[in-house]
């Protein structure tokens, strides 16, 4: 058993539990803030102080194992403003970024937002967003879970997770139609499209098996 301070209460728990398991073990009926339990969804963010440490750390409750003397609370949500927009209806979404997120331009690069449990260098992508280097931002936020911890630290109330998502979506939309997809869609729209395949509904079970196996093998061998 180890002693920790959990949600402001000193309590003994078995060793090796994650913060969430420690909460459940001590009778906290936590549902809000529980998601994938795999460190992927960003629902279960926690803030904690390790024994003897001075600096508060942040992490995911399902992946953070409690240790002797740890002082920990769940921080499953932080209020941040999310712009509403219809991306498909916009002509130049990247150009409209300042209208939707004007606070972005107040960023003075203080780097307070670098608390990402996914180890994303948040300050870097916020800076590249502010400076119009959108491709860099879009690439950097691929691993963002939208947990919002970074927003909780920003003195200018910027929500880096929403700004990042806006840019990620806008950049993806701005890319050219992939040639392989365009070709396939065109083939499928043509009247000659796979007449052979259209017949599968009428096949007997054995005919269907033969048809499928032949198709699958033909490719493997070629």
């Amino acid at each position: 058993m180890i002693t920790i301070e959990l949600e402001g209460r000193q309590i003994r728990v078995p060793e090796g539990l994650t913060v969430i398991e420690a909460l459940w073990d001590t009778g906290h009926d936590v549902k809000r803030g529980i998601g994938c339990l795999s460190g992927l969804c960003g629902a279960c963010t926690v803030a904690y102080l390790e024994a003897g440490a001075q600096r508060v750390k942040f992490g995911l409750g399902c992946q953070t194992v409690v240790a002797e003397g740890m002082n920990v609370i769940m921080l499953p949500y932080f209020p941040s403003r999310m712009a509403r927009y219809d991306l498909a209806a916009m002509d130049n979404p990247l150009g409209e970024l300042p209208e939707h997120y004007p606070e972005l331009y107040a960023c003075n690069d203080c780097k307070s937002c670098n608390v990402c449990p996914e180890w994303i260098h948040v300050a870097n992508f916020v800076k590249s967003a502010r400076d119009g280097e959108y491709a860099i931002t879009a690439d950097k936020v691929k691993d963002c879970h939208m947990c919002g911890l970074c927003a909780s630290r920003c003195p200018k109330s910027i929500a880096p997770q929403y700004v990042g998502l806006y840019i990620q979506r806008a950049c993806a939309r701005g890319e050219a139609m992939p040639a392989n997809l365009a070709k396939r869609l065109q083939e499928m729209a043509a009247p000659a499209y796979d007449t052979d395949f259209a017949g599968v509904m009428a096949m007997s079970d054995d005919e269907l098996k033969d048809y499928c196996r032949k198709l699958a093998c033909a490719i493997k061998e070629s």
Binding site: E21, R32, L40, E118, A138, R169, P178, N180, C212, S222
Partner: protein, 531 residues
């Protein structure tokens, strides 16, 4: 960090790597596969199943876990609940994962008012946890027909060919839609969509977004949902029962407000059930890769309303679930790792199955090794085999893992295991409910006005789902059910009743079933045994 007791084993994995590269296990013949599955796959372990005693699928073989849910009563007192609707809408979507949000978006696009209710937070779902990718036949050498063939073969020809055809033919158009709403699929240098191989595929067909495919899709879908005022959102309000009208058609649901601890009723012209799978039922004690909410609620609700099920005795056990460290047990290691050529290695340093076999076969082979003394034990008494990931750095050059699998790399760096140097201990993890509520091509179940999409739906994947088909399925049948449900907006939903529940309970009682289990489960109790 690995404890010392693993060092000898880890050294063996490193020492045998070079020699293993040239010893590729031969793919199994159909007969050998069947024998392996019969002996080792959990779906064939008769002790895990019984025949259902009630309902539309009476007499069917189902898992004990499902039978327990279906042969039980709800904690809702159906005779006393207030059936006066608190909310009235056109389309009620239950479930906030990929299928539910897609259904809501398409229903709204066809003019319907939508209420989307979800048990947890919007987006908390298995969609977010889909790592490796989504299938769609867009590669030059590929075709929807080949996608069809691979899917039917992977499912042992148990899948419904109409549903499979619908799924594969919608694939390319779904990709186009996702690109339009800003999903950033990986591309080749020339701008083509990057396509990759996976187990059981005859052509490269996996589209991905790094190793966070589902997460990035779900982020976009959630954002997209907020664009319209016509979609109302209700979080932390799980559905506990459907309602039906006098003709037996579905016309709403009873939701439970987790915060206020009270039930309330929603009336709708059509209901789309998209509450996902059942991994948190932990069949046969298996660990699971599923999220907290995956407790099979859809099966219970739809079955009581009279819907037919399909394949409730078939689950997918993903071959590579983490077995160490303890707090990550069950967490998924993406199949893309095997797709690229990582080795599965037993305690003797040998490969024992062709890693590109379908998931059911690979899982059965791992279980065979572990039950025949070729597994590796953990301090808590669990057993697994090694997944030699570092070999990929030798095959494709240093830096590959950090670049292609940043999420996986980071996940293990947090516990100080460097996957570029160390193998991971893995064992099959309960991953996917292959069966579910039987649907037609529009997503409608055998109960009128009740649509089902995503993992809750059955009939598509047969007895084994191929990698990447779940992500495609949620969009295809989410879209189809959303459109078809919106087509019902001119019809009168009728009086809300729980007659189907009263009838169901009557049959339970006449069979002298007096279960103590309450269903739907809503939240798992697995924590207790873990501690």
């Amino acid at each position: 960090m690995y404890p010392e007791l693993f060092f000898e084993q880890l050294d063996l994995v490193n020492a045998t790597r070079e020699q293993r590269k040239s010893v590729v296990p031969a793919p199994l013949a159909a007969r050998e596969k069947a024998a392996l599955l019969k002996t080792y796959h959990p779906d064939h372990k008769d002790a895990g199943f019984r025949d259902l005693r009630i309902g539309a699928n009476k007499g069917d073989r189902v898992t004990h876990e499902f039978a327990d849910l279906l042969e039980s009563f709800s904690s809702l007192d159906h005779a006393r609940v207030d059936l006066v609707p608190e909310i009235t809408t056109d389309v009620l979507v239950l479930g906030g994962g990929g299928a539910g949000v897609t259904a809501a978006l398409f229903a709204e696009s066809r003019g319907a008012r939508v209420l989307l209710a979800t048990k947890l937070r919007l987006g908390n779902s298995n969609t977010i946890m889909a790592l490796g990718g989504m299938q769609a036949a867009v590669a030059e050498q590929d075709s929807p027909a080949r996608h069809f063939a691979d899917t039917m073969i992977a499912g042992g020809f148990a899948g419904n060919r109409r549903l499979v055809k619908a799924m594969v033919e919608d694939g390319p158009a779904i990709v186009e839609w996702l690109l339009k709403i800003g999903v950033n699929f990986d591309r080749e240098k020339n701008g083509d969509l990057a396509t990759r191989m996976a187990g059981g595929l005859s052509a490269p067909r996996i589209l991905s977004i790094g190793d966070h495919t589902g997460l990035n899709m779900m982020k976009v879908l959630k954002d997209e949902l907020h664009k319209s005022d016509r979609i109302e959102l209700s979080e932390f309000t799980p559905a506990v029962e459907l309602t039906t009208n006098d003709a037996g058609a579905c016309n709403g649901a009873i939701l439970y407000d987790l915060g206020r601890r009270r039930y309330f009723t929603v009336r709708a012209r059509a209901v789309i059930l998209a509450t996902g799978g059942a991994g948190r039922l932990h069949n046969q004690g298996f660990p699971t890769s599923n999220n907290f909410g995956a407790t099979g609620d859809a099966i219970v609700l739809a079955y009581r309303a009279g819907a037919r099920m399909e394949g409730l005795d078939s689950f997918q056990y993903h071959p590579t679930g983490v077995m160490f460290p303890e707090h990550m047990v069950g967490v998924l290691v993406t199949e893309a790792i095997r797709g690229l050529g990582a080795h599965l290695v037993n305690a003797r340093g040998e490969r024992f199955v062709n890693e590109l076999e379908t998931r059911d076969v690979v899982s059965a082979a791992i279980i065979r090794e572990c039950t025949s003394g070729n597994g590796v034990g953990t301090p808590s008494g669990k057993v697994g085999v090694w997944l030699d990931i570092p070999v990929l750095e030798e095959l494709y050059g240093k830096g590959l893992l950090r670049k292609r699998f940043p999420a996986l790399f980071k996940k293990f760096m947090r516990v100080r295991i460097d996957i570029t140097k160390r193998a991971l201990l893995v064992y099959p993890t309960l991953h996917y409910q292959n069966g579910g509520v039987l649907i037609d091509e529009t997503g409608e179940s055998s109960v009128r006005n009740l649509f089902v999409a995503g993992e809750a739906a059955g009939g598509i994947h047969g007895r084994n789902r191929a990698m990447g088909n779940a992500l495609l399925d949620i969009f295809v049948f989410g879209r189809r059910s959303g459109i078809a449900a919106a087509g019902k907006i001119d019809q009168e939903p009728g009086r809300l009743t729980l007659n189907h529940v009263a009838n169901y309970y009557g049959r339970l009682k006449s069979l002298r079933i007096s279960s103590v289990a309450k269903s739907p489960t809503l939240f798992p109790e697995f924590i207790v045994d873990k501690i």
